[in-house]
Amino acid sequence: MADPIAIPADLRFRDDEPADEPAVSLDAFLDQPDAVSVRIEGGDDVRRLLPMLDRIQLIEVDFPRFRDGRGYSSGRILRESGYKGELKAVGDVLVDQLLFMRRCGYDSFAPNEPIDHAVAARALSQYDFVYQKAADGHTPVWALRHG
């Protein structure tokens, strides 16, 4: 296990300034050419955002229940498509989900219930190695094996 990583007080793993506009629904966002923050609900197709990723500063993805894993695919699709802005998981986000969310490209979190930062630090540094590529740039073990 690596040294526990530092958990930012605001659960935002980014250095840039947060967007200063509240996120609006996907439909509202698509109607407003100047909007920079959007909120994705469970059933929304994030691919509708792909033509305008460059202008977006914040995408919030709602996790209505922690067992609802659609947001993991949404995160990966956005990152695979080149989205570089803030990707925030909001809703029923629990400490034991943080690692996979980070791997799927989420770099900011707004959980319904407060998260114990010491537990989060342990959870995020538990695994030194991963088996597959994802959105977090972690080198998978097959690449380490074949250097």
Partner: protein, 544 residues
């Protein structure tokens, strides 16, 4: 077989520590049972009627003697001296204490075993042909591919909160011993148009309350694209599968609702979107894994004959020894279905006997099967008698493989909180009714499968004869199904008519069997007779 390197070991060790932390937080009350449940399930820990049940992964049904001895140790130390092989080739322990699970997992990790993703809404253990590496009819050894998929799907971050569980079945033979068309994804290794190895891909099979035979969605997938194609299938389902009704969330429902053609179109489109990300694991990694599965040093020029003068031995050989690719060797299936016993159960002592036999006679190789038996894959024909004698000593030489008393059975209401009816006592009654070996041999191949509820863990949908336990106004009631098959000629069994009491269903099975004996052609299996004559003659015999 595959041996962990430092990376594999580090990942499994990390999971033990993570789970230790999760159990501690649950015991301290920091985490609710609702929050803990999916975490423990992803580590194979169920809360059953009487205790916790721990399901240990046996990846693609492959075990070495050291691992089998560890399972024996766990059975003896933390359970009641026995373990249970499941229909997914895993081993379950039914009397586990929550606080001891981190210690058990730490011990399993010392022999390269774990319980990762053996339950929960995750990608489960890959089922594979238990004769892999020994079967005369395989085009290549499927185990390296199973290990390649195992690694790719372990802790896959995108697919760990799926709508429901997800199961792979894999074979490299035209004879399907792994029931691949009853899996969420069935993969058959085949040669492509240019003579390269690849996969035929089936999606959307499964049993449970809504059984389906899988649809063929791709006739040939180049091996190098396996991971990205799997991602495409999973992503289409993860994004579009239902999440509003637990009984309609498996991928088979999405395939059925969209239709195989539309589902295939979506998968192909998603695959095209995924491919530029280069998620595929390069084949050099497959080759590294495959080097762990080189054939053992078989002896050449062995005598291919078996001395069958001992009739009891001969009867066992007839059922239990199968054709091996290497002359002079046989594949041995050890039936875990003694008459009156609990199908799939093994005592700690029996596990140790099997470990010893594998070491002495089978190049330290053991397999578990989806029919809840154990295989010694590489036994010299000249050693068969000694193996049989040792098995008999350990009550493991029942000569009933694929016969009527070799049943597949779920744990049922004796253990399971989902069950509507007991299945184990019924299995014992049926086995006892047909205990006579002569009679069993006369009946021939006949697979009875019993489930204690519609979740179908006992695979009743694919029994030649299936039995389904239901709750009828507070009493246990059993329905009879006929005509299923989980093999390459996959079909779903159909309910014959009104249900029965426990004794009534035994009687109904017997009437079915006697009708078959009366109308069969020479050498015709039960299933083939049923397919030829249809259900009516049986209905008449049962209810008439």
């Amino acid at each position: 077989m595959y041996r962990y390197d430092t990376y594999d070991q580090a990942i499994v060790d990390a999971r033990v520590e993570e789970f230790r932390d999760q159990v501690a937080r649950r015991i301290s009350g920091e985490m609710s049972e609702d929050q803990f449940k999916p975490l423990r399930l992803k580590n194979g820990l169920y809360l059953q009627l009487h205790a916790y049940m721990l399901r240990v992964a046996v990846p693609y049904g492959t075990l070495n003697p050291e691992q089998m001895r560890m399972l024996a140790h766990i059975a003896r130390t933390y359970d009641r001296g026995y373990g249970h092989f499941t229909t997914r080739q895993n081993m379950q322990f039914h009397w586990i204490k929550l606080e001891q699970t981190p210690e058990i997992l730490a011990k399993l990790a010392t022999v390269q075993m774990h319980a990762i993703q053996t339950s929960g809404e995750s990608i489960r253990n890959i089922s594979a042909d238990q004769f892999a590496g020994a079967a005369a009819d395989e085009i290549c050894d499927p185990r390296p591919w199973a290990e390649y998929i195992r690694q790719f799907t372990t802790f896959h971050p995108e697919f760990s909160y799926l709508p429901r569980k997800f199961k792979f079945g894999l074979t490299a033979s035209a004879t399907d011993r792994a029931a691949i068309k009853l899996h969420d994804v069935g993969l058959q290794l085949v040669y492509g148009p240019d003579g390269d190895i690849g996969f035929r891909v089936y999606v959307g099979g499964g049993m449970g309350r809504t059984p389906f035979i899988a649809s063929l969605i791709r006739d040939f997938l180049p091996a190098a694209s396996l991971c990205s194609y799997i991602e495409a299938i999973l992503r289409v389902w993860n994004r579009n599968g239902r999440r509003d009704n637990i009984h309609k969330q498996r991928i088979k429902i999405l395939v059925h609702d969209l239709g195989a053609e539309e589902f295939t179109r979506q998968v192909e489109a998603e695959w095209q979107a995924i491919r530029p990300n280069d998620d595929d694991i390069p084949l050099v990694e497959y080759e590294r894994i495959a080097a762990h599965f080189v054939p053992p040093p078989f002896e050449e020029g062995l005598d291919d004959r078996i001395d069958r003068t001992d009739p009891a031995f001969s009867a066992w050989v007839e059922r239990s020894a199968h054709t091996h690719k290497q002359p002079g060797y046989a594949i041995v299936t050890v039936s875990l279905k003694p008459i009156g016993g609990i199908p799939g159960d093994l005592t700690a002592e029996q596990m140790e006997v099997l470990a010893d036999l594998a070491e002495r006679y089978s190049f330290s190789d053991l397999r578990s099967t989806h029919e809840q038996n154990v295989v010694l894959p590489h036994v010299r024909k000249s050693d068969l008698y000694a193996v049989w004698a040792a098995l008999r000593e350990a009550d493991l030489a029942t000569a009933n493989l694929s016969l009527i008393s070799e049943l597949i059975v779920c744990p049922g209401l004796d253990y399971c909180s989902l069950a509507n009816a007991r299945s184990l006592p019924l299995a014992q009654k049926i086995a006892e009714r047909f205990a006579d070996e002569e009679r069993q041999r006369d009946i021939g191949e006949l697979k009875i499968k019993i489930s204690g509820c519609i979740n179908a863990c006992g695979h009743h949908h694919v029994g030649h004869i299936g039995v389904l336990g239901v709750d009828k106004k507070g009493t246990e009631n059993y329905q009879l199904l006929l005509g299923g098959s989980g093999a390459e000629d996959a079909s779903l069994a159909k309910i014959v008519g009104p249900g029965f009491s426990e004794d009534g269903i035994v009687e109904a099975v017997e009437r079915t069997v006697e009708k078959y004996r009366a109308v069969r052609n020479d050498g015709e299996r039960f299933l083939d007779t049923y397919r030829r004559v249809g259900v009516e003659p049986f209905k008449e015999a049962i209810y008439g």
